[in-house]
């Protein structure tokens, strides 16, 4: 392990390796990508832990996120202030959860947070309607949207409060073997 890099101290890299699903090389590569997003804002030297946050507008322009209909919600749910401004730790955290090796439960937790637009710990009908509109790029008529969301809630809601709690969501996800492979962004 040549210590040729001067971006992080070894302790910092070890901490990143312990707390995320990335290896050393990938973390350095991630830092390169983070720096590319805002070269004037992000210092190359992270040894003294600078407090730098990149705003939402720059992050959603990344090629990995650009095509994704939920890019704003994704970045918001990983940011500390809820507004979408990510520090490097949040950035690494985000791609770690979305990587291949993250376990299903962790992904389910964050998927729930992403689909919960009004951040009330429940996926209610309005959240589902927004989801559907983003997925279909508003091609459905409002009646169709209404019908689909009602059916979805009827099917998935087990305790009858006409909104999906995390338990309902997780139960529905467990029936879809595709979830783990599609909830995944490669970087």
């Amino acid at each position: 392990m040549g210590n040729k890099q001067t971006i992080f101290t070894d302790e910092q890299l070890d901490a990143y390796q312990d707390c995320t699903f990335f290896t050393r090389k990938e973390i350095l590569r991630l830092h390169g990508r983070y720096h590319e997003l805002a070269p004037h804002l992000v210092p190359m030297d992270y040894t003294n832990d600078p407090d730098v946050k990149i705003p939402l507008a720059l992050i959603v322009n990344m090629p990995e996120l650009k095509e994704n209909p939920f890019r704003n919600r994704i970045v918001e749910s990983f940011s500390e202030d809820g507004q979408g401004n990510l520090s490097f730790n949040d950035f690494v955290d985000m791609f770690s959860v979305l990587s291949e090796t993250a376990p299903r439960e962790l992904k389910a937790i964050y998927a729930f947070k992403i689909y919960d637009f009004n951040v009330d710990n429940y996926i209610c009908k309005e959240d589902l309607e927004k989801t559907l509109n983003r997925l279909t790029k508003e091609e459905l008529t409002p009646e169709e949207v209404n019908l689909v969301c009602e059916k979805a809630i009827e099917e998935a809601d087990l305790d009858g409060d006409s909104k999906l709690s995390f338990a309902d969501f997780e139960n529905m996800i467990s029936r879809a073997p595709d979830f783990l492979s599609t909830f995944h962004i490669r970087i």
Partner: protein
Amino acid sequence: NLSARARFQAIRSLHMPFNEKKTISEMQFLNTDLSLSSFTFLKVLHDISGLISPLFQSFRRFRASLASARQHLIIWQGTLKEIGCRFGTSVLSYFLFLTWLLKFNLFSLIINFCFITIPQIVHAPNISSITGFRGLELLTGVGYFNQTVLFYGGYNGEVIVSKPAYNMQLAYFFTVAAYLVLCGVSLIYSMSRSFQKNFVLETGPVSGGAWRLLCSWDFSVVNESLSERLQEKNKMSLSDRIKHLSLHLLAWLLFLGLALGSGAGIYFLGTDPELVSSFTASTLLLPVVVSLINLIVPLLYSLISKIESYSNPRAKIYISIVRCDHCFVTVTRIITDYTWHRINRFTFISLFQNCYSVIGTMCIQSLGVPEFDIARNVLDLIYAQTLDWNLLLPLLPVMQVLKLFIIFYMKKISLSMNCQPPKHTGRAAQIQTVFIALLFFPSFVGALSMVAFTVLKPSDQCGPFQGLDTPFHIVFSWTDSLPENHWVGWIFENILRSELFYYLISLIVLVITYFLWQITQGRKQLIKTLREGIVNEGNDKAFLLNKLQNERRREMASFRPQVLVLMCSVCSASSLHLVVISKILYSTERVECNCGDFSPTNTRIRAPT
């Protein structure tokens, strides 16, 4: 008390922002479970352990570098990631299948090489008749090549004189048998594992679309048809239905006609007496024709299927797989009726076929940019693998491995140059199961049935089984040659050749299967009951909440606001208060008076005036 590795995995899976995880992992490092209140003590310990931490650090770093090195060993990982990124998971499934086949063939290559080819190369047999080498032999495979290790004729059945005598005939027979058995076992194992992962959990109402709503996020694939799929589609009129049915019927008739026509053509070409056994280029006619058919007919099938419209794109893929597979199976069964010479040519030709198809896709771009036709490509792979199994030559896995390598890169290049991302997403998780099942059922089982070669008389001039009645006789002669009470001979005579043994085995296997099946049924029942239990709990909760709310509402309604006069018992001053009586009765609220305070016990409540 988890191991260090499990602990770190648990930390990584915590649902917390990064900084908190970092703190926890630092505390974990000291392997304590003290409470947070002894934080300062921990800090001191941490500073002290800074002296010995480099040891732990370097150990952890070593382990991390091992993990990243292991990642490099996974072949083609970077390329697979890139393909999945740009084209979605369903196209990626084809490449994953290709990788799986490659590993499979590498494994069989190792077996064959060790036991058969190396001894043969080391003790090269006398080549009986050497004809001159002409360039055509590269394609036809007769003549010079016939006596080399590449083909069947290069193996002779002599016993190699070395320290323990190595019987080539036995080696060939047993290696091929073991190889087939291992293939079958590993196929069944892979199939059952993917089956279990993907299908077994689908109890309950899966026909609904709710999960699709939340799992359809396949990045960089634009779901133009998602809106159609999410809607209810049972509103077709009668005339529409009839039209669809007639189109389906027409398509199936065309398909049957094509399949029969190509089968008949191949049969007549193959039995044409002029083409049998000659050394000129006309022997190449049959393989070339077959390869052309394999190229063109699936194209025709996809054109045919364009005229039909399918409600479910997954059904479309499966039906096209069924049709193409039928075609391939027909072709394969017919051509494997022939002798070894001809079949050898097919492998060379199929390699060229792949080249042609790639070059063809690169040149022809008239109909717009094509999509990557998953079904056809998968069937190409399966066809090649079937040929491989049918021929049982020791060195075929080498060719297969090389071919798969080349195919991977060719397909990748043609994909990136030509194709656009697919418009429809498929349920890619189950596709791997379907592919492996397709590989197993038609191809492998077909190949097994061709192992009827063990009861046919092998050729007299070449090959390792010269001079025997059937290849199976080698086993008989070997057991006869063993000393009297040798344990192998005893096992062979009394167990493997007795029918009772097989009856018993089948009976035991059936009983175990029945038990396992009953266990599965029981578990399904349990899941159903638990699900109902959850629903009932929800109903109970709703009912109780409702009841509670009603009670409280009634309570509040019965107490109207009243005007009360409160009197202080100290100074006897009185004042007017507008209260709800329940509040006064239940609360310990003190109300101030100028002299002291009104406590509820000090007040006298007078009825309103």
